[in-house]
Symmetry: C2
Subunit: 470 residues, 2 copies
């Protein structure tokens, strides 16, 4: 048995396959076996050497009931930072099972931003109990972050930081580092903040400037006074854009009185960026931005059902346009075969325009200064491709059904629908953005309804006129 263990679960750090970087199924199986046996020693031996991110990935691969058991069996050796690396649903499930004392102990060991990420998942009552069990100083700091609205700088920031008065010398700052206990300093830091007696932010000094300076130089002489800062209640996606645009590595957070309250580092911002991109992709695909790969069957059924229901409504709107032309369809069944082609080509073309527009709005590339130029370009592209595909599909349709008239009818309808689609594809997201509705979530249904209705409507109306169907 023990040999088996050794074979299936090589000692430390081999959670991921070296070639593919994917988690190894045999490692996961070995952990599952150790959990089933309640073998705390063996679980620790396997999991302790892993990086917190890999512990998170491992937890997501376990079955629901194995997850809290892993935390239990790991005991003191469990690094709660791993819980910040997993999906919210899974985190909730695990935290529900843990006693308040364990959670309070964990909060003390975590950096403040990780502690906040875990506390915000708890039910209000349990959150209050955990906070009560903490020393006053830590409680106050965590409470301030939790009072910040979700998705703001205050929630994302780290409160452990180094602040010094402007009259200190570079040498004094270095001496201060050496004299301070390591656990009173942040785990890793790149800069020192300079504050006045009221803790108002005067500027910052990066470590490299500090070590390059003469030891007698006062920090106010080498500090960057114009350093970008963000407000406590700033939206995190705004903060992320600032980091991206100006290639920042960290940014100080201040309150209304310009007092320094925390610092946001780029590793937290990377998560915000990745999260925002995931949400945009999911929204465009008609999936709830909250959905995660580990979510349960019922959660997913419910969330997808709602969106499909809305789309079913729009499908019936398009179908009712077809129904208006029932008699024409009966007189000339070729129309029923060809109409979906006009609608689908319009939908695809409009989706191209919509995708580009939604992305440009998200990255703030599309603004008032260039909106008109882009609208005109998209309209021209739609019209040009509409004419080209009109000609092409007109030729094919006329030949396929050996009916000359289907050529011009198809061509005209295709042109109309692609031009209308381009206009809808750019205007719908821009209007939604102006009305403060997320364009990624809502644009798709609107735009394809436009191209279905215009596609069916124009094709069948033009056909009715051309062939004098009544």
């Amino acid at each position: 048995m023990s040999q088996d263990h050794e074979k299936s679960a090589p000692a430390d750090g081999n959670f991921r396959d070296e070639e593919t970087g994917e988690p190894r199924a045999d490692f996961v199986a070995a952990v599952e076996e150790a959990i089933a046996e309640g073998d705390s020693g063996h679980v620790k031996e396997l999991v302790s050497p892993l990086h917190e991110a890999d512990v998170g990935a491992l937890i997501e691969l376990l079955d629901h009931e194995e997850r809290p058991r892993l935390v239990e069996l790991m005991g003191d050796e469990f690094d709660f930072a791993a819980l910040t690396e997993i999906g919210e649903t899974t985190r909730e499930e695990i935290l529900e099972e843990l006693p308040v004392a364990t959670l309070a102990e964990a909060m003390r060991e975590l950096e403040s931003d990780d502690a906040v990420a875990i506390l915000e998942t708890l039910e209000p009552e349990e959150q209050a109990q955990v906070l009560e069990a903490l020393p006053a100083q830590e409680r106050i700091v965590l409470r301030r972050s939790l009072e910040a609205a979700e998705g703001t700088a205050g929630r994302l920031m780290q409160t452990t930081l180094i602040a010094v008065p402007p009259f200190w010398s570079a040498g004094e700052v270095l001496d201060f580092f050496r004299a301070t206990e390591p656990d009173e300093l942040p785990d890793n830091f790149f800069e020192v903040f300079v504050v006045d007696p009221a803790y108002r932010l005067l500027g910052t000094v990066f470590l490299d400037a500090l070590v390059r300076a003469h030891p007698k130089t006062r920090v106010e002489e080498i500090m960057q006074a114009d350093r970008r800062r963000v407000q406590f209640d700033e939206d995190t996606e705004e903060v992320a854009r600032l980091f991206e645009r100006y290639n920042l590595v960290s940014v100080p957070v201040v309150d209304e009185a310009e007092r320094l309250v925390g610092v946001i580092t780029i590793d937290d911002v990377v998560d915000v960026i990745q999260e925002a991109a995931s949400e945009e992709i999911k929204a465009l695909g008609g999936v709830s931005p909250d959905e995660e790969l580990t979510d349960s069957f019922w959660w997913i059924v419910k969330s997808r059902f709602l969106w499909l229901l809305i789309n079913l409504g729009t499908a019936f709107i398009s179908a009712s346009v077809l129904k208006t032309f029932e008699s024409q369809l009966q007189q000339m069944v070729a129309l029923a075969v060809l109409a979906p082609i006009v609608a689908s080509q319009g939908g695809n073309s409009a989706t191209q325009t919509m995708t580009v527009t939604v992305r440009a709005l998200a990255t703030r590339e599309l603004s008032r200064s260039n909106a008109l130029r882009i609208i005109m370009r998209e309209l021209a592209t739609g019209a040009f491709n509409g004419a080209a595909f009109g000609l092409l599909t007109g030729l094919v349709a006329a030949n396929w059904f050996q009916t000359f008239g289907l050529g011009p009818v198809m061509a005209l309808a295709m042109f109309t629908n692609l031009a209308a689609g381009a206009l809808g594809g750019i205007l719908v997201p821009m209007l939604l953005e102006r009305w403060k509705v997320d364009p990624a979530v809502a644009s798709g249904s609107f735009v394809t309804t436009v191209t279905d209705v215009v596609g069916y409507g124009s094709f069948l109306t033009i056909a009715t006129l051309w062939f004098r169907l009544g």
Copy 2:
């Protein structure tokens, strides 16, 4: 006139509106006016105070012919790093207009990763000329980066770094910083690399550890020897995943012999992450990953046309399924009205599954360890929602056309199509990934063809049997 200038273009840093963060149209107009007048002094006065990222944003808002003129009028004061912040098409346009001497001078002033980003945009011949005009040492370093394949760590890395031998003391390193000319050190740095005489990487010391250490401590005692490193030819998206997973701020780059050749910092990785997300979103929307908002009309027409052509092909495949049932459609025109509803609902449901799958493949959340579980869950979701929407649309259809039989026919077809769509939505991207085809680019067309063909085919076949249409 000069008063007008002052009003329309407030002095420094006011390129962006304070409220919205968007570029100000009046500022852009003032720059355009100064360019039109060839007023070099005024152009400098407006543009010099801006951050390189904002200069980039400004350039993108100018007309094509104004862009190289801006660079000319700025003269020595133009910061070429701004050109790394703009789209590739625009960069090419501008670089084409500039003389080799200007480019060579610019390359000397840029950090190596920015210089490489600009050099790689040049035609091979011009690139060789610019390299020839550089001092040998800089030429060698830049050439090594350019020899790395596009999209690899070698292209992304920065070659200016600090490396010290293991026997140096912390104090000696700090003295070395103070004794070195600032322009010989990187602009900003957070760590010192420890190398052996053959320049093989032994470990790294973060600045905070260095300043905390006693001055007599040898760097080998405080270095992290197990620091993660990446190979010169590693894919940049792989590198980005490493940064994200382990919350890294920088990572050393080594060659096959484990020799230190450069360092990748997180600000460059943020661009890779954002770029990868943009490409995925565009690909899912049927837009070329290379398309940029500033691209010209003709470029866009051509790139979108190709993708629409492929989709037109699939639309004709679906239409030919409809054509097979021409006589049935003629006998019962309600079928022509309802068939698109079955196809569209299947398409939307399959797109949900496909979106989740493509995203999970991109983030490496979906692996062999959990694939089967996710496939079963998606299939169950498709079947469940298929049954629910089958019931719902069956009821509506039977009532709408006052024909009882349409109910069960619609219900059965809807169930079949949503189940097939779920299977297609997850299997198509997974197979494409295994065949090394980007699932974001190719899945959409495949999946909607499946749901169109299965939707039309199953609905009309079941209807033919139920109503004994022949």
